[in-house]
């Protein structure tokens, strides 16, 4: 069949590196630059989110107390120096949205994934570099739009809006209050419109990113890089991309419907006869608020795995690297990632047990939810199996990876509580839930990012990070997050409702006020410790010792090239892979490890 003509493969087109500043650092199509851009965007966003935490903790620990600086910061929303209820809700909404979208979704996938997926599979770049650039810049615009939602009423001199600085509906933006505009509360009009526009833009950016990741991994692997020779990080990024590809369109659909309810006068989510803010809603009827919850959580639950899976992949990778042992059960790890991703699409109802859904479907959702415990347990067991009997090197990235396992277990255990309808009903919307998802989705994923930063910083910037500062950062952060979020569970069991701007007015919660204050103090210390990390980043970048090609004695392809890597990664030479990525402690080898590109060497006696 010569009528189908294929180009001859094997010839590598080398494009010269761009020289102008704009093409090199701003509108770059180089996956490495884009990865760093994503990572910097997430770093900015995480400090915004943390700043909001500080303000919220001030209010929760010392409700009603006057702080002079708040008056300066929010002249209208905190005119007495105390945080008003609306300001608190607005900060809470922004904290959630910024953290979930622009930190947890952005850094592990857009940042590290972009930078290292092509290198680890031996490609010169992503499959569609221009799409990759678009994806970052749309994310950037989305962040700008979100920040503008925060400031929408900042300068308005309207007495009715005096307390407001943005949408107040929480990151889940439940309808109908999110669809009714200003009458549902200040900030719910223009604020929500900007908020949902930002999320819709973020959806589009994530879809472009996911498309690129999937195509790259399926089509651009180098010679010898069979699927079962891929580092587990790649499997995690791939599965994350599949989840994003299938779940973000659903959020986009929900966003479009919500925008139409705001702008076009439709009633997708607004039921008739709603009585809101002392007035009957007459212009809308027939909509279904539960529809919003279904669409939102059909995205929302896979989103949890979008945040955590890259951390899982990296943890597997690091535990093996620093325990100098092959990953225990490589194939089981790959299939467990798939299983978690797949099951993640069928459990969204467990966020809606008290929405009035049929108890029968609640039981179905509950059963599938508990089933996720099986692949999760496989992963945890294999992580411990990897550590068992290893010659562990306690570097900072390793500490954060072990911390990830610990947080994954303590956050996951409470998932078993909340996955059951009978226990979820009393605990729903309490601090128990807040503690649960902060441990497993928030902090565990953040630990994955810290581990990734300490591990890959030498490759990305060519300098080693300071180990001593890293360890201090780890110890304070690890103790800190446990001291913050474990008490949350206790508060939840005492019945403390989430999203309240203070528990001081509720008699039955007087006894937890000291605990609230304790949590606030620990939060301040832990957040202060993050500046050690920031200082370490900048100091190491400027003054850190030069990193060698392979400072951690790791095996995957990124450690075969210079630090930082040249413009097209492998300088036009296609690397050839001969073995899997976890050949540590190989008996009979000259060193205690074999690189993936090592052709010579004993045949592995284990697994693959």
């Amino acid at each position: 069949m010569a009528d189908v003509i294929h180009p001859v493969h094997g010839e590598v087109h080398r494009h010269p590196a761009p020289t102008g500043f704009i093409r090199k650092y701003v509108f770059s199509v180089d996956h490495k630059v884009i990865g760093i851009q994503y990572w910097c965007l997430a770093l900015f966003a995480v400090f915004v989110g943390m700043g909001l935490s500080v303000l919220m903790r001030l209010q929760l620990g010392w409700p009603g107390q006057e702080f002079g600086f708040l008056k300066t910061l929010f002249p209208s929303a905190a005119e007495n120096g105390t945080i008003s209820g609306e300001l608190y809700l607005s900060m809470l909404t922004m904290h959630g949205t910024v953290m979930v979208f622009f930190v947890l979704t952005t850094a592990p996938q857009g940042g590290f994934g972009n930078y290292f997926l092509p290198i680890q599979i031996g490609a010169a770049d992503m499959a569609f570099p221009v799409l990759n650039m678009l994806s970052f810049w749309i994310t950037f615009v989305a962040l700008v739009v979100l920040m503008s939602a925060f400031c929408v009423n900042f300068f308005v001199d309207d007495p009715n809006m005096v307390n407001v600085i943005g949408p107040i509906g929480g990151w889940t933006g439940y309808a109908p209050l999110s669809a009714l505009g200003d009458k549902a509360g200040p900030g719910q009009g223009t604020g929500v419109i900007l908020w949902i526009t930002s999320i819709a833009l973020f959806c589009v950016a994530s879809l472009l990113g996911a498309l690129n990741f999937i195509t790259t991994m399926l089509n651009m692997r180098t010679k010898g890089m069979s699927l079962m020779r891929l580092p587990l990080t790649c499997w995690a990024w791939f599965t994350t991309a599949v989840l994003a590809l299938l779940s973000f369109p659903v959020l986009l659909a929900a966003g479009i419907l919500l925008l139409l309810d705001h702008l076009a006068g439709t009633s997708f989510f607004i039921p008739g006869g709603s009585y809101v803010s002392g007035a009957l809603v007459t212009e809308h009827a027939g909509g279904s608020p539960i529809l919003w919850q279904h669409l939102f959580w059909f995205f929302g639950h896979p989103e949890v795995y979008i945040a955590i899976l890259p951390g899982m992949g990296l943890t597997s990778h690091l535990l093996s690297t620093f325990a100098r042992k092959p990953v225990f059960g490589y194939r089981a790890m790959v299939y467990a990632i798939f299983a978690i991703g797949l099951l993640g699409f069928f459990v969204w109802g467990h966020h809606m047990f008290i929405s009035g859904m049929s108890p029968y479907s609640a039981i179905a959702f509950s059963l599938i939810t508990l089933t996720i415990g099986v692949p999760s347990a496989i992963k945890t067991f294999n992580w411990l199996g990897t550590l068992w009997g290893g010659q562990i090197r306690f570097t900072t990235p390793m500490l954060f990876a072990i911390g990830f396992v610990s947080l994954f277990v303590s956050g996951g255990i409470t998932g078993l509580f909340l996955g059951q309808t009978s226990i979820d009903i009393p605990l729903h919307d309490t601090y128990f839930v807040v503690g649960h998802f902060h441990l497993i989705m928030g902090v565990a994923a953040i630990f994955g990012m810290f581990a990734g930063t300490y591990f890959w910083f030498p490759k990305m910037f060519g300098k080693m990070m300071n180990e001593w500062m890293g360890k201090v950062h780890f110890v304070i952060t690890f103790i800190g997050v446990n001291a913050i979020f474990v008490p949350f569970h206790v508060m939840g069991m005492a019945g403390a409702p989430r999203r309240y701007a203070g528990h001081d007015k509720l008699n039955y919660l007087q006894s937890i006020m000291p605990m609230n204050r304790f949590i606030s103090w620990v939060a301040f210390i832990t957040i202060a410790a993050q500046f050690i990390f920031l200082f370490n980043l900048i100091w190491s970048w400027v003054k850190g010792p030069k990193a060698s090609e392979n400072p951690w004695e790791a095996t995957s392809l990124e450690w075969t090239i210079a630090s930082p890597p040249p413009h097209d990664n492998f300088e036009g030479i296609e690397p050839e892979v001969y073995r899997g990525p976890y050949e540590y402690g190989v008996p009979g080898a000259a060193k205690d490890f074999l690189m993936q590109t090592d052709a010579e060497g004993p045949v592995p006696s284990h697994g693959d």
Partner: protein, 233 residues
């Protein structure tokens, strides 16, 4: 200029621009060089790209577009069934604008014509390719014009997006589909212009293939939406 290539002509493009010999050891081929007479028009070594990448990318993109419309379908069902929307059903089925039969027919024909174009290109029959790809582009434009007419007819009857739930879904689904189809028309226009200028290299051949996949999908999606909106109300 050759208009057909026999199937047994063995073309080996992909040689470096530096004049190096290719894997087969042949002399460098390329437009303007010695053997360029045997090249299909518009081919160059720069076109030695990997078509598989674009095909995978298109299928992946279609999966996400499909999810978008699945989500909206579930919204349509939930919103349309009185028991699920809180009991107070305000669902009024829309009278179908007649012009939609026409647009549906046009889109079906366009799927056939793009397939003929693709096959003609595969056989390197450029005259046929030019004819069919231009026709497909025209069909695409005609479809979009038909959709605009449908909106105008409804608007003339006083039916707008906020009139009632079925009209909301009608305007939403048709405009989202139309927007996606507009993307396809732009791609078709690009390929058509390239075809008329006889610049159909590897890269644009891949573009034709990938656009055809997209176009068939958009056609199928329209049939589905047409059925959903007017035979499931």
């Amino acid at each position: 200029m050759p208009t057909t290539l026999t199937a047994d002509v063995n073309i080996k493009p992909g040689l470096g621009s530096g004049g190096k010999l290719g894997p087969g050891g042949e002399s460098p081929l390329g437009p303007g060089s010695g053997g360029s007479k045997d090249w299909p028009p518009g081919w160059s070594t720069e076109d030695a790209i990997d078509p598989e990448k674009y095909r995978i990318g298109m299928w992946v993109a279609l999966a996400s577009i499909l999810m978008l419309f699945i989500a909206l379908t579930s919204a349509y069902i939930v919103r349309g069934v009185p028991a699920l929307s809180g009991g107070d059903s305000d669902w009024l089925p829309l009278e179908m604008p007649r012009v939609l039969w026409f647009t549906t027919g046009v889109l079906l024909l366009s799927s056939i014509s793009i397939e003929l174009a693709r096959r003609a290109l595969k056989r390197n029959e450029y005259a046929g390719f030019k004819r069919w790809i231009s026709l497909t582009t025209l069909f695409g434009v005609a479809f979009l014009a038909g959709q605009v007419t449908a909106w105008q007819q409804l608007a003339a009857q006083g039916v707008f997006i906020d009139s009632h739930p079925h009209s909301s879904f009608f305007y939403l689904l048709t405009s989202l589909h139309g927007l996606h189809l507009l993307g396809g028309v732009i791609a078709l226009a690009y390929v058509t212009v390239a075809a008329l200028r006889m610049r159909i290299g590897f890269k644009r051949r891949t573009a034709v293939d990938v656009t055809a996949i997209y176009w068939h999908f958009m056609d199928g999606l329209w049939i589905y939406l047409f059925g959903l909106l007017f035979f499931f109300r």
